[in-house]
Amino acid sequence: MDKRVEKKKLDLSSRYQALTQDLQWDTSYQSMDKVFPYARYEGIRINDWSQWQDPFKMTLDVWWRQQSEKDRRLYAVLDAFAQNNGQIGVSDARYVNAVKLVLQAFAPMKYALHRSLAHSARNLPGDAARIAAQIQATEQLRHSQLTVHAASVYNKYFNGMHAAPRWHEQAWYLAPVKSFADDIASAGPFELMVAISFGFETLLSDTLYVPFMSAAAHNGDLSMVPAGFSSQSDVTRHKQAGTAMVKFLLQQDSLNIATVQRWVDKWFWRSFRLMPLVAMLQDYMVPKRVGSWKESWNTFVEAPINALFAELAPYGLKKPAGWQAACAAKDHLSHQSWNAFYGYGHAIAFHTWVPGNDELAWLDSKYPNSFDRWYRPRLTHYAQLEAAGKRFHNHSLPMQCQVCQQPMMFTEPGDGRWISYRETRHEEESFHFCSDQCQTIFSNEPDKYVQAQLASHTILHSNSNNTPEDALQASIAALGVVIGRDNGEFHGSEDDTNFTEWGGGQDMKEAQL
């Protein structure tokens, strides 16, 4: 009788090689430079593309199967959440403002990043790198879509989610995110891989998609949580590919080292300047708290990234220039950010509020070095004003950093006292920055940033009729944000009264703050 012989399968490495590599050839009908016109202008030298290895040996057939399996599962959860009115099961309607901010800031950002990665997917001369970039591009689009789908149930019941893509493009407080994405969009195929896969995803993205999503789960958000966790599962592969790209560039030619260091410095810092939003999500916008921004920073950034850079040191790469300053900010960042958004609460598209006494006590317990000294007095003052019917509104136009476009709200590293100012004169004009790192980024590529359309300036160009006091609020009203309904004080808002009327919320007495 015939013996059944098991057909020998190729091992993982060979399968990966067969299905993703070995697709490369040097063109002869047209020159390689014509087929890959963006490959050289960044000054990166590659001698042997076959040395680029993706640590995750994922073949496309496995990828399609797994991604569709992930989507099947998580859309079932999204459907169940919507069918069962999950939106009234969240801890407190304040929580929904976290969803709004994620939708406004990060869904459009992921969309923009997917387009940039598609550029790398076409223009990197190495086949394995092109495939990694193609997969990453598709996945960034997926993440953008997941966020929109996960938020859509909330959009049916709460305010401030109806025009997120437009606000990403034009709202002053989302300009740091848009500026980040635009800077990447104008980069070359090598820089943008370092910027996205290494700079943002490897170094910092866990803070948004891991501990914040765990906090979202703790607040009953079964919609955003699977979307966030499932997105981050893709990012594990982006991180490995990004780190592999950095090592590859460093090893291919010693002349690449200085360029890669400059990119790592720049993109760590530009990514870090998105963290004010994430930090305040974690510390101020989740009513039932799991851990602090400082704890998230220690667990998901400081410890693992110290380890990563120890690993990369033999390749000639140093820790990013802004590393010390970023670590020193962990006691201050969330508080400074919430303070700014509270004051400008009339000119954004979500609600703000002063945390309750239990929450202030929690903040003090998590920030013994900084909260009572620098930040509690402001919050208790705001609470007093609110109680007296005179809620504080900062009606000025905020000065913004020329590079990161954040309001100039950051203090000198490790200090709570002095706003950090840096100034450069360039071709007879003054430019201002929030930090040494933004100033350095400017000095390396001034033409990229002199053209920046800072909202606080553009609002005042001669062709506008705005007075500075009204201008910021008018600028978001012009984008379809309904003043007083979509923003301002949470307590007493339509979101708040609706949620109470619907019987929403969890028993906060049992809540572990």
Partner: protein, 89 residues
């Protein structure tokens, strides 16, 4: 010496993965937070297909773990039998 880590969505499918990792990595520490299970280990962490198969009683493709994976830290080396995270320094 630095930690590597791996984190999964906390559900019935990832439970045997966690059990396998704890069995194969004596110094691993498991941390739970809402929705999430994270495992830290000093310097090296290995996920073995064989151990998982023993626990779940069926053939298992290691790449399936990506379905519930959330994040990881360390250099990855994977083949059909082992998924290894490590730092070289």
């Amino acid at each position: 010496m630095s930690n590597v880590f791996i984190a999964f969505q906390a559900n019935e499918e990832s439970r045997p993965l966690v059990d396998a990792i704890v069995a194969d990595n004596p110094e691993a520490q498991v941390v739970y937070s809402p929705g999430l299970v994270k495992i830290d280990a000093p310097n090296r962490l290995v996920v073995k297909r064989e151990t998982i198969e023993e626990i779940i009683g069926r053939k298992y493709d290691l790449q399936e773990l990506q379905i519930n994976l959330v994040t990881l830290s360390g250099n990855l080396d994977e083949d059909d039998d082992e998924f290894v995270l490590s730092w070289k320094h």
